[in-house]
Symmetry: C2
Subunit: 509 residues, 2 copies
């Protein structure tokens, strides 16, 4: 968890005036005509044209070739007023075909304006080309042009509105795939917050957005992740968060308000309450609100999957640790020997360059390494004095007994545990048991567990001995480097002694 | 798994000619005018009008009120040719407002046709009403009408195309939420197949669709789920499936072909190959293909989550069973006592009306019921003869020892196991130990485990006794009904003896 400071006040970034959701707050109208006069007259005729309080920006092209380049630069053009005859007799029609087929732009509305109707017979053109209006230049009065442009921009707006919804959904789907693939709750929070912010992010650079993920505590909230907070003079009191949190609990998980997103997700396994809050700093459109609802729903499903998986994995670890420990010590006193060995092994595996996945596998399997001791009689296992050769031979069998208990399973954790049980008494120089394996004939998991197990045994009290002082234990490891233990692992162990000792402090007997 | 027959030939339903994806294969054009002559002339003028090989169907309304009713009936109307002055001076404009605001239809294109321009000044109307074209009746020549209708239908088509994509995405999102919530792989297959079929389902009733989910086997496929197969004379040989399966393996998981969907999903935990195949019987549109790719990707993510969860749960069960068994028998001989007790308990829980979730919890926790025996010396635990009172007192402590080993965990399974460990020697009449609880003072899990444990102990060989014949075991349960055991549970046990005995056969010692 990134930050654990208690939150008293939440600071938001500076407020800036919200932009229109439309690309740059204006409608782009491209005039394509080889006659400069037509350009001038068109602008003059339309004058200070606005549609829905948004002005028009005119783009000018004087040939089909120029128009192509201009459209590449402005793919968000709303309307093209298109002449037919330019550098060739049907340069305009060729450009119209290019727009739909090659530039793949099905949004821009094309109004064909022809001066010589004979060149482009109306019926043929309107049928064969994917254009949206056909006008004779002669009859294009101010009023007609006004109507044509208004209808075209309106159509463009309708198309863009649905398209924005479609794109938003596509983003939600990508977001969801990412969310459902998140490996941990922490990763998930970072991702989910990012996707909520993105859904409500407007095209312009200056839209204010602030968000956080918090864990509900007795007194208030503990912030786990935050974006854009504490960077401005603006404050939102914790009271507002608490109010929304309570509303989210009462009305259902996801609240999408005019400018805010708030949701509460409850982990029933751990009785933890998680709270998402985002303040967008501008009113959300209906489309955005709909998308946020869908995204919120997906977050809920993905999170409850993740909570469940984390619970199962945590339970599995506890089962293995608890049963491994009681088998090891054969008593109800559940000390922390197998837990420490598991944690030491994890650290050694990571430092030895194993992947986190393999290191976790080792940590999960390692507590079962002594399960074979179940087959050794009390009288030998708990004998206070020195063992006879026969008794020691019996003790040694705990490796093969453990292996035979665990090896039958097809599960990866169990198979791994079987290998560890069999090999954790092998020595680097071949002097170990049961098989006298040499060097890396012993699996890396076996070598790691061997070192971790001996370190813990020596540095703690046992029925037959007192704990050794740390320096004596370390001397022992150095002495046995390259003989009993993998020399590379002993080096790693000594280099990372701080982490090892921290584990011993965290899980004392 | 629904059917396990080997598949030699796959039969598909009859082929029928595919319909156009558009709603009913025609464009609906509504003429709204109080003058019957206008209706007649419009139809006459447009004649046998087609757009993209699809004909027009004319709908007729003679007033604003009629138009509202007609639109309710035909919300998929493409174009409205709208008169202004009808039952009132601006009945047409009122209807236009109704279409957008009340009927919430932003798809239908509205062409206003006015006979008295003074009644509806063009600039004001085009600005204030969400209409798409403004025409004077006087100037509506055949060519003009043709152009206006073509442009309007084209706009409608563009809007519908994006909207269909958007709706498809929305369905994929709903599908994904359902898929990610699936509790088991089987449920998942049914759902996933349904959603793939739905994505490619055309509006008409007669589109052919056939699908299956299969498990790859050495020889070919084992069908797990199928839809619409084996109901027609048409055959697709297994060879085609094998070909696509190999292609899916080679090129990536999801193949979307002209008329087919094929995907392979590999469970790396179990080395199982799952294969989805759907034949749609008509060419898929680009939108549909895109949606199927997205859906396929989501299926992959959801399925790999599910595989992982199933693996973790299975591993957890094995860990608990294996360790529970070795603690119970204190030997490397992993017999099946705790496994049988777990399975008997599951059956009894279900038959006693507990939810599947609770029954599974009991099954998972039950193998740990005797974990406290770890604290009992060999000499007492394995004593062949009769125990002294003191020795029996020590044996009895395995309940509280087990409880104290397990109770420290916050995990549900461990807490449940702690309760079972403590209570599985209590009697219905209060004569049990350690606390002499009466009737339902003992938790239902404790009562169930008590019965299952004694049944298994009596009907199998133990170190201190031979197995009893079945009839003697059942006589014992009947005799102890309402004394040692919950009478209700004994009844359930006897009523479901077949299932109980099947478990004993499945897991022998």
């Amino acid at each position: 968890m990134k930050s654990e400071h208690a939150m008293e006040e939440v600071h938001f970034a500076d407020e800036t005036p919200p932009l229109k959701p439309e690309s740059e707050g204006l409608w782009k109208v491209m005039i394509v005509d080889d006659d400069d006069f037509v350009h001038k007259v068109t602008e003059l005729t339309l004058g200070d044209y606005h549609y829905q309080n948004t002005p028009v920006r005119y783009l000018h092209a004087y040939s089909g070739a120029e128009a192509r380049a201009l459209l590449r630069e402005h793919p968000d053009t709303a309307v093209i007023l298109l002449d037919v005859v330019m550098e060739t007799e049907n340069a305009g029609l060729e450009f119209a075909r290019h727009v739909r087929k090659e530039a793949n732009n099905s949004f821009v509305r094309i109004i064909l304006r022809t001066g010589q109707p004979g060149q482009a017979p109306e019926r043929k053109v309107i049928t064969e080309y994917d254009i949206n209006d056909y006008k004779h230049k002669a009859e294009l009065s101010e009023q007609r042009l006004f109507t044509a442009i208004t209808a075209a921009i309106r159509s463009y707006r309708d198309l863009r509105t649905i398209e924005l919804g479609r794109l938003g959904l596509q983003e939600v789907i990508c977001a969801s795939a990412a969310l459902f693939s998140a490996g941990s709750v922490q990763d998930f929070f970072v991702l989910a917050l990012e996707h909520i912010l993105r859904t409500g992010r407007c095209a312009g650079p200056c839209c204010r957005e602030n968000g956080l993920v918090a864990l509900g505590t007795d007194g208030g909230f503990e912030i786990l992740e935050s974006r854009g907070l504490a960077s401005g003079p603006d404050n939102v009191p914790v009271g507002r968060l608490r109010e929304l949190f309570e509303r989210a609990s009462r009305e259902g998980r996801v609240l999408v308000l005019d400018q805010e997103f708030a949701a509460r997700f409850f982990n029933s396994h751990t009785d933890q309450d998680f709270f998402f809050y985002v303040f967008f700093g501008r009113p959300l459109s209906e489309t955005e609100q709909g998308l946020l609802h869908i995204l919120g729903g997906n977050i809920a499903v993905a999170l409850s999957n993740l909570f469940l998986t984390e619970e199962i994995v945590a339970t599995q670890r506890e089962v293995v640790l608890t049963l491994g420990e009681v088998v090891e010590t054969r008593s109800k006193e559940t000390a922390h020997h197998v837990k420490r060995v598991a944690e030491y092994s994890y650290v050694l595996a990571i430092k030895a360059g194993l992947s986190d996945e393999r290191a976790r596998l080792l940590r999960m399997a390692s507590p079962m390494h002594d399960v074979g001791k179940i087959g050794i009689p009390d009288s030998i296992l708990f004998k206070p004095g020195k063992l006879t050769d026969d008794e020691f031979s019996i003790i040694k069998t705990h490796t093969v007994i453990g292996h035979s208990i665990l090896k039958g399973s097809p599960r990866r954790i169990m198979r791994t545990a079987a290998t560890i049980a069999l090999q954790h008494h092998e020595h680097w120089d071949g002097g170990g048991y049961p098989h006298g394996l040499v060097e890396d004939e012993t699996h890396i998991f076996g070598r790691i567990t061997a070192l971790a197990d001996v370190f813990d045994a020596l540095s703690c009290d046992r029925v037959y001995k007192k704990a050794w002082p740390l320096n004596e234990v370390l001397d022992y490891l150095r002495e046995k480097r390259g003989r009993q233990f993998d020399p590379f692992l002993v080096d790693i162990f000594l280099e990372n002694l701080d982490e090892i000792l921290a584990i011993r402090v965290a899980y004392p007997d």
